[in-house]
């Protein structure tokens, strides 16, 4: 434990800015993964245990696209679009077969794909750590805000993630497709009775979730190292985020992700050995006091 460092940081505006920014980075990436997880759960009542793989593929797709084309924008696009397609195929071909089956079966199918996807990445890109490198457009002097160091790329990352959150929130609330998705989450039988293709919606939701996680992976690629299995720890953290925020709630995922980001960022100063533990501790406190999460609906 190193409480002096933590209190020292809280007293200094420079450190505060640096840690808050890094907390936001962690939180925003987690949000993009968690929101897909929570959306898929909300509509399909399935926890996509292989969701971390989308994050991983997003990062690898982006890296390869960047290496081939040198375009950062194209890299992001490839990361997001590639995983969207992957999500669609995964749902239509495999997950759609285990809806309504035992939780055991759903977990097993996802477990199988975690194993398969990790090995596929190992086959294509190799088992060693990879790095995409910071695009040249962002290799500029960092900003100094109140004495704290903020790389410009971080601002872009936060901006993109926040825009995604806003677009998603508005899209679900305002558009026709959004209403159908919310209706499907509420009452799938009704939606299919109205002549709407539920298969299309389910596939679409998986593609959307995959796309968001892929985008998170692509955004993370310049600042994190890439390795097979990188998706799993992100999955666990995103799951913790959704548990804290409440399964099925987008706002909950956002708040939960930022909370976890801050806990990780500041916790690493005060409790370097127990940073992960803090996260779990926080989850346990939320679960015990509010079993459905901060923004979860009471399950009848």
């Amino acid at each position: 434990m190193d409480l002096d460092t933590l209190t020292g940081c809280l007293a200094s505006s420079a450190c505060l800015v640096t840690q808050t920014t890094s907390g936001f980075i962690i939180g925003m990436l987690l949000f993009l993964v968690a929101v897909g997880l929570t959306l898929i759960f909300g509509v399909l009542k399935v926890v996509n245990f292989s969701h971390g793989a989308f994050y991983m593929f997003g990062a690898y797709f982006a890296m390869t696209a960047y290496q081939l084309s040198g375009s950062f924008a194209l890299a992001m696009l490839c990361g997001a679009a590639g995983t969207a397609l992957l999500g669609l195929v995964f749902e239509r071909v495999f997950m759609s077969r285990v809806y309504g089956a035992d939780v055991l079966m759903q977990l097993l199918v996802c477990y199988a794909f975690v194993l398969i996807f990790d090995d596929v990445v190992r086959m294509i890109w190799g088992p060693e750590f990879k790095s995409m490198g910071m695009p040249s457009a962002f290799q500029v002097a960092p900003l100094f805000i109140a004495g704290g160091v903020v790389p410009p790329y971080y601002l872009l990352l936060i901006g993109v993630a926040l825009s995604a959150a806003v677009i998603l929130g508005l899209g679900l609330a305002r558009t026709k497709v959004g209403k159908v998705i919310r209706a499907a989450a509420h009452n799938p039988g009704m939606v299919s009775a109205l002549g709407i293709n539920t298969g299309l919606i389910y596939g679409g939701v998986f593609a959307l979730g995959g796309m968001l996680a892929g985008l998170a992976g692509a955004l993370a690629a310049p600042v994190r190292s890439l390795t097979p299995g990188m998706g799993f720890s992100v999955l666990i953290e995103s799951f913790i985020v959704t548990v804290i925020g409440g399964m099925g709630s987008i706002l909950g995922a956002l708040i939960g992700a930022i909370l976890i980001g801050m806990i990780r960022s500041f916790g690493s100063l005060g409790f370097p050995l127990f940073t992960e533990g803090l996260m779990y501790l926080f989850m346990v406190i939320v679960l015990v006091s509010r079993p459905t999460g901060l923004f979860g609906k009471e399950v009848a």
Binding site: V98, L104, V114, L115, D119, R122, E276
Partner: protein, 340 residues
């Protein structure tokens, strides 16, 4: 009622007229099995085979204890492997640091497991299906990351190295391979017998009621939360014993013992062998270890092969091998007409 429940329901014909007699039968089968296993080294000198049986003992205890949760109580834990790792590390650390006799360290390991399982269980067992699965998984990751980061105690990602001292006790010398082998078999057979007793006790039927319909069970006067917590702790004890065997076998403990894939494999072993029979997980363990050994010899991409096998069972067959055996047997007994 889910599909799986319906299938289970259609399959279980056993009615037991004289319960005590069944217990003697179980004990006799266990004794016979133990004698056969114990005499094996006299006829077959292959060290590899004995190693295989020791690993089967470790994973068999773990998988069968998981079936107490999954198959008998309907609690799909995805973090059961944490107790396997906990057992291995606790035992290894106690032996390395204190030098107490092996049985004392074993009992101390069980005590530690009880405490940890009771705390984690108290938080988890109230949660609904999928939440339960994932929160147990989260706790597994917590234990795993604690092992990785608490380097001064656990050796971090290097694991507990330098070997676990195994002083002889009651004339049993665990550094002797055959002694280790027979001890593992004894632990396996005793563990299975105890779990069989749990499954066939009145408490075992309480668990079945909870699995089938927890709400109704509470209206029969059963304290569902307490029963679930009890079986969670009991199952953890057997998983921990599996971990102890593993620690003795490799004379160490590694973070992989506490990694989530152990839980995943446990779940798959149950699926592979079948959750409707008591020995299903044992059959699954043997099959998975054979598969594991064969595949790792042939390719480095073990995950892909295992993944495809899992998909074949989960999406293709939808039940375990022992389930098929039971069904076939029931069909033969009742004749095909009745089941049509």
């Amino acid at each position: 009622m889910t599909e799986l429940q319906a299938e289970r329901a259609a399959m279980v014909p056993r009615s037991q007229a004289r319960p005590q007699r069944w217990r003697y039968l179980d004990v006799s089968i266990a004794l016979a099995a133990f004698l056969v296993l114990a005499m094996l080294p006299m006829f077959i000198g292959s060290k590899a085979l004995l190693d295989f049986v020791i690993r089967c003992s470790a994973f068999g205890l773990f998988a069968t204890s998981l079936n107490l949760l999954v198959g008998f109580t309907g609690m799909v834990s995805f973090g059961h492997g944490m107790f396997f790792g906990l057992g291995a590390y606790s035992f290894g650390l106690i032996m390395q640091r204190t030098g107490v006799p092996v049985p004392v360290a074993f009992v101390a390991t069980l005590v530690i497991t009880t405490i940890v399982a009771a705390v984690i269980g108290a938080i988890c067992v109230r949660l609904k299906e999928i939440y339960f699965a994932f929160v147990t998984l989260a706790f597994q990751m917590l234990i795993h990351s604690t092992i990785l980061s608490w380097v001064s105690l656990t050796g971090g990602d290097q694991g507990l190295r330098g070997g676990i001292p195994r002083p002889a006790f009651f004339g049993i010398d665990l550094t002797n391979h055959v002694h280790l082998y027979i001890t593992s078999c004894a632990l396996l057979v005793t563990g299975l017998l105890l779990m069989r007793q749990i499954a066939q006790s009145p408490f075992g039927y309480t668990l079945r009621m909870i699995r089938d319909n927890a709400n109704r069970a509470s209206f029969v006067g059963i304290d569902v939360w307490r029963a679930k917590l009890t079986i969670f702790v009991l199952a953890a004890l057997f998983a921990s014993t599996g971990g102890v065997i593993m620690a003795l076998f490799v004379s160490g403990a590694y973070p992989e013992f506490a990694y989530w894939t152990i839980s995943g494999e446990g779940i798959f072993i149950n699926m592979l062998g079948g959750v409707t029979t008591f020995l299903g997980p044992m059959v699954g363990t043997v099959l998975l270890l054979i598969l594991n050994d064969t595949v790792t010899r042939m390719t480095e991409y073990y995950g892909i092969v295992l993944g495809i096998v899992i998909l074949f069972f989960a999406i293709g067959l939808r039940k375990g091998l022992m389930d098929f055996a039971v069904e076939w047997y029931a069909q033969r007994r009742s004749g095909p007409a009745e089941r049509g």
